[in-house]
Amino acid sequence: MANFLVWVVWVVAAFACLASALAVVSFSNPFYSALALIGNLALLAVLYLLLAGEFVAAGQVLVYGGAVMVMFLFVIAYLGDRTDESPWSGGPSWQVVGAVLAGGAILAEVCVVVGLKAGGLLSKPQHVGREFGTPAALGRAFLTDHLLAFEITSIVLLVAAVGGVVLGSHARMEGDARA
């Protein structure tokens, strides 16, 4: 029974997730694309929950749905109507064909891999304890095994912040110079 429910949730979430991804790619107005991406992220969070990743799911919603996407929306709003674009056009003729072929190929390859594994390793997940994926567990992991990863992540964020300052601030000065 529970299994069936999980299935239902998964199917819905998965398809919605995919649909929203496609929407992100195909909307002509980046504002809608951004909104679609928020949905996509939320649905991914659901899937994470199914995979026993409570903390990740939470982080997903907070970090992405919160911070990042807000930043997106802000920029889009800031740039206003200059952001419109006809969805598929321009570029050399072979661009589209090549893109579809390449993307399809990668997809197909992964599917082949999965097909080869069907019923194999991928169908026998380890049993996980109750505390798997809890904030506590992840925190412990962060502070012990993956200490360095943790630190580096923070450094990268710092670098990015500096970069944002450098790039953005200069743009403003440029604007002042024009004004």
């Binding site: 529970a2 990743g53 994926g133």
Partner: protein, 102 residues
């Protein structure tokens, strides 16, 4: 474990990855290209988390969390560039950025 096997998650992540890749390769609006990149990264995240579930190993989830941060930072820089473009009244169309070529 309840629900579908891990392979379905893998397939889904592959679908997302391909979608994002298509977005990057087909769209011309830098904002949407950035969003597509986010989709690709998230596909990777989904894969990682699925696998960490498969092996009951937190490593994957930790990885995923760091990736979120990384993605965020890339977004910051990318948006900074886009804003700069906007500031300088450069049309938001990567196909117009062709001064460097050949």
């Amino acid at each position: 474990m309840h629900g579908p096997d891990i392979q379905w998650y893998v397939v889904l992540s592959a679908l997302l990855f391909a979608t994002g890749a298509l977005g990057v390769m087909l769209r011309r609006n830098p904002l949407i290209i950035l969003l597509s990149v986010e989709i690709m990264l998230n596909a990777g995240n989904l894969l990682l988390i699925a696998m960490s579930r498969l092996h009951a190993d937190e490593g994957g989830q930790v990885f995923a969390i760091s990736v979120m941060a990384i993605a965020a930072s890339e977004v910051v820089v990318g948006l900074g560039l886009i804003v700069a473009m906007g500031r300088r009244n450069v049309e938001l169309d990567v196909d117009k950025l062709r001064t460097l070529r050949g």
